[in-house]
Amino acid sequence: MTATTTRPTNRIGLTTQDYQGGTSTLCAGCGHNSITSQIIAACYDLSLDPATVLKMSGIGCSSKTPAYFLGKSFGFNTLHGRMPSVTTGAMIANRTMTAIGVSGDGDTGSIGFGQFKHMMRRNVPMVYIVENNGVYGLTKGQHSATADIGQHLKYAGTNVLPPIDICAEAIAADCGFVARSFSGDAKQVRELIKAAMSYEGTAVIDIISPCVTFNNEDDSSKSYAYGKDKEERIQDIQFIQSYEEVVVDYEPGSEQIVKLHDGPTIKLRKLNRDYDATDRWAAIKLLEECRQSNIFVTGLIHINESRPTLQQTMSLIDEPLAYQTEAQLRPSRAAFAAVMAEF
């Protein structure tokens, strides 16, 4: 009816539309919806082929979101707390895929805590986003393991237990890409996702993502008001793809450049702090400091590219195990006969 307007396309000729999923059934205003948008934007920006992406999740409001992005990608909405193991299996079976997973603070910090830690220990290649609202959204407002001490909720009352710090736990587990962000900080979320998707091992992004229905009182550290008022970025982060022919100029001292394995670059412009994200010890200090003083820092907290990924430690072939043919999978008659002769 109207004149056909040509939507902008990315390097592989896709429009943002090609990265959309189904309509969200989350509450209007839910932080998770913003993150969904940034996942879409990041994949578009990266010109990812949807056929190469796996969308993974556990169970929760947050874990529903893979239905709302990348409708042309395969995905698995698994069990509560079990996204790490399923993703581990999928990424062993087909190491050529890029996995992006969405979890919640309950999904990760409560029922899934063990799997979360062991996934990082194995360095399973995936982007692991925690949409952290300090509450169980889908079961209607219980405290989660990341709830502040003293957090008060309508039905669940006051939380008395200390919060788990997703980033500190990730660093303790030797995770090589640890970031924190705020769903209201669209640009940072997007750049972090792009960097994470270009990183080779497990990349954890803990994103404060307010639950407008159950935990958005101004005094909650997971509320919009808190995030907006209190966010302190460690750096301005910019992700630069390898094909971008820009000369990555930067000011030494005030900027840090991290080169990723296949060529892309993360450019970090330091803000208030003189912070080196490649220094694990600095990360530990920063997190402990912020814990003590209740500071909400965001940015790329730690990056380390030296750990081998799980597929590397397992010496897997480059091709997907899933695509091995019968000829490759079945032993030769000779080898079989040789084994039988052992008995």
């Binding site: 949807p50 698995f76 899933a322 079945r330």
Partner: protein, 617 residues
């Protein structure tokens, strides 16, 4: 070993005439003392003499120092089941020697270290004392081999006393030590010293003899876990995720051991992954991910692991992801007896997961099936896009069994209805341009599956454990749900016709039927021979899979009285049979044992005879 066994009162054995190739020998030692080498040597030597033999290890759930019994049954008839008593005792464990001695039948044989004291010596038993300490002093083996070499002394005595071939003993040692001459020689020295001593000082006073036969030619000795491990590799396994648990660990160990031989690395890279998970939940999750992504993925576990896999079993069932779970059944409930056999997970496995779910279960009954079902399980899992559980047990899995060597499979792998980028386009062309992950195009309940990496932009779907329609899209509609459940029921009915059929031995004139499965097969065979001798002809049906099918109903219709033999407390298979064939349910009577030991023929005949008597009265 225990009082329960002694309800079968031991016979009195005559020293004459000779008893040839028909007796049982039990070796009592402590675990961790290296007796396995000695026992394997004996069993292999007898086997290589052409005499059917089987070995069963009764070992404790700890690492060293507790009583262990290894039973070697020599049987010219080829019976491999356990027997209640052994005629020959190698009493090398001072902590159990009294009880072991007490369990010998009159006229039995007791081989023991010369310095062993028995609290109540028996006069109706033949003793062969072995001056073990003297031997050891003379040989002076390195300290860390002391226990091993000590045990070789009974190998020598047994060899000489019962006429086992010294040449085959040497061959067996060569086999065990992979031809390492030095190790072989050290062990042989002890064997020979004991042989010499026996010749000189232990005149034969008992009737038992091994004599060469020709009943093992071409056969091999193997345990079920090794068979399954090799079978999995032959069956194209891609991903193994597991968590250590007795008695399943050796299955994964076998895969690890044989993978480099059967699926050699190329440029130091391999096309399979074996991953030790942090627990069984993770192991299950990993194979669900791997199966969904398109590999043949499996785990091996036992009871406690099965309990922990319920939620993932349900997810795989409902999202229709092919996975294979080996349950090497041990005695439960709970942690139970980790080193004792049972068939107690039939119901847990069949109904794995909450809500309505019934799973394909395979029930291997011998080594060939342990080997073959490893591949069959993958074929069925991929064909039916569903979990397949293989219910083996500790007896099959960890004991030595005689078998025909395995055959290289002639059938190609059945990868089921998988559409890759190319065939997906073709499928659309052939089907009105319509595809839905869960559409029942062929009316067999099975949809067409795509796996990640498929390039067609319409091929992707989001797997989930929540309600979904034929497109795989989330749905809470009651009609979508019911339709999907009906399709799953249809799929199970299709599977019913494809899973391994029961093995039926229908005898003319039989009015009695015996139903069994798994490791009880040998005891059933032996029991049926004895019943026949008693004048009771029986037909038998060995179940090899669930869900049960029409053959089962027909068998149940055909006999007046049917005994269901199983190693569990609650007659689990009997319960399933009742629901499967209600018309004939009343004919079923349980012959079930739940004491952790492999079944004996005597138990079966006694229970059947007692039941027949009680019915008559």
């Amino acid at each position: 070993m225990t009082s329960l066994d002694t309800v079968v009162s031991a016979p009195v054995i005559d020293p004459n005439p000779p008893v040839i190739n028909d007796f049982t020998l039990v070796v009592a030692t402590e675990n961790g003392s290296g007796s396995q080498t000695a026992n394997n040597t004996l069993i292999r030597a007898i086997f290589k003499m052409g005499v059917p033999v089987s070995g069963k290890n009764l070992f404790p759930s700890n690492i060293s120092g507790l009583p262990t019994w290894y039973t070697i049954r020599v049987s010219h008839q080829g019976y491999a089941a356990r027997r209640e008593y052994s005629e020959i005792l190698v009493a090398y464990n001072p902590r159990t020697s009294d009880e072991d001695l007490a369990n010998l039948p009159a006229g039995g044989v007791c081989i023991h270290p010369a310095d062993m004291k028995f609290t109540t010596p028996r006069s109706d038993v033949v003793y062969y004392p072995v001056p073990v300490k003297d031997f050891i002093k003379e040989i002076a083996p390195p300290q860390h081999l002391r226990d091993y070499i000590t045990n070789m002394s009974y190998v020598g005595v047994v060899t000489q006393l019962f006429g086992i071939s010294r040449v085959e003993i040497e061959h067996a040692l060569m086999h065990h030590f992979n031809g390492k001459r030095k190790a072989v020689d050290l062990n042989l020295r002890m064997v020979d010293m004991a042989i010499a001593h026996t010749v000189a000082h232990l005149p034969k006073q008992d009737p038992f003899r091994v004599e060469p036969l020709n009943k093992t030619a071409g056969k091999i000795l193997i345990d079920g876990n090794t068979a399954a491990g090799i079978g999995a590799l032959v069956g194209g396994v891609g991903v193994v995720a597991w968590y250590p648990i007795t008695p399943s660990t050796s299955l994964v160990d076998a895969i690890t051991e044989y993978a480099p031989k059967l699926r050699p690395a190329v440029d130091d890279r391999v096309n399979y992954a074996i991953i030790q998970a942090e627990d069984e939940l993770a192991a299950a999750g990993i194979i669900v991910g791997a199966g969904w992504a398109g590999t043949r993925a499996m785990t091996a576990t036992s009871g406690p692991g099965i309990s922990l896999m319920n939620e993932f079993g349900g997810l795989a069932h409902f999202a229709e992801v092919p996975i294979v779970i080996w349950d090497i059944m041990r005695m439960g409930p709970s942690t139970g007896l980790p080193t004792r056999v049972s068939q107690g997970d039939i119901l847990s496995a069949y109904y794995l997961g909450h809500g309505d779910s019934q799973h394909i279960c395979l029930l291997p009954g011998d080594m060939t099936e342990c080997f073959a079902y490893a591949g069959t399980a993958f074929d069925l899992a991929e064909r039916f896009q569903t979990p397949v559980l293989v219910l083996s047990d500790l007896d099959l899995g960890m004991n030595n069994w005689m078998t025909e060597p395995f055959e290289y499979p002639e059938q190609p792998l059945d990868r089921g209805k998988v559409l890759d980028t190319g065939s997906f386009a073709q499928f659309l062309a052939d089907h009105d341009n319509k595809w839905g992950r869960y559409r029942d195009v062929d009316n067999d309940g099975i949809g067409y599956r795509t796996i990640p990496g498929n390039q067609n932009p319409r091929a992707a779907w989001l797997a989930r454990g929540t309600g979904h329609n034929e497109q795989g899209v989330y749905s809470e509609r009651n009609d979508d749900w019911q339709r999907n459940m009906d399709r799953l029921t249809r799929k199970l009915d299709t599977a019913r016709r494809h899973v391994p059929a029961p093995v039926i031995d229908a005898r003319p004139g039989a009015t009695v039927g015996i139903i069994g499965y798994g490791s009880t097969a040998d005891a059933i065979t032996e029991a049926r021979d004895r019943l026949r001798a008693q004048g009771i002809e029986t037909s038998s049906m060995r179940l090899r899979s669930l869900p049960l099918n029409e053959d089962v109903r027909t068998f149940m219709e055909s006999y007046d009285q049917i005994y269901v033999v199983e190693l569990n407390q609650d007659s689990q298979m009997l319960q399933l049979l009742c629901a499967h064939a209600p018309k004939d349910a009343a004919k079923l009577a349980p012959v079930n044992l739940c004491d952790g030991l492999p079944l004996t023929a005597t138990f079966i005949t006694q229970r059947i005879n007692a039941h027949r008597t009680s019915v008559k009265q």
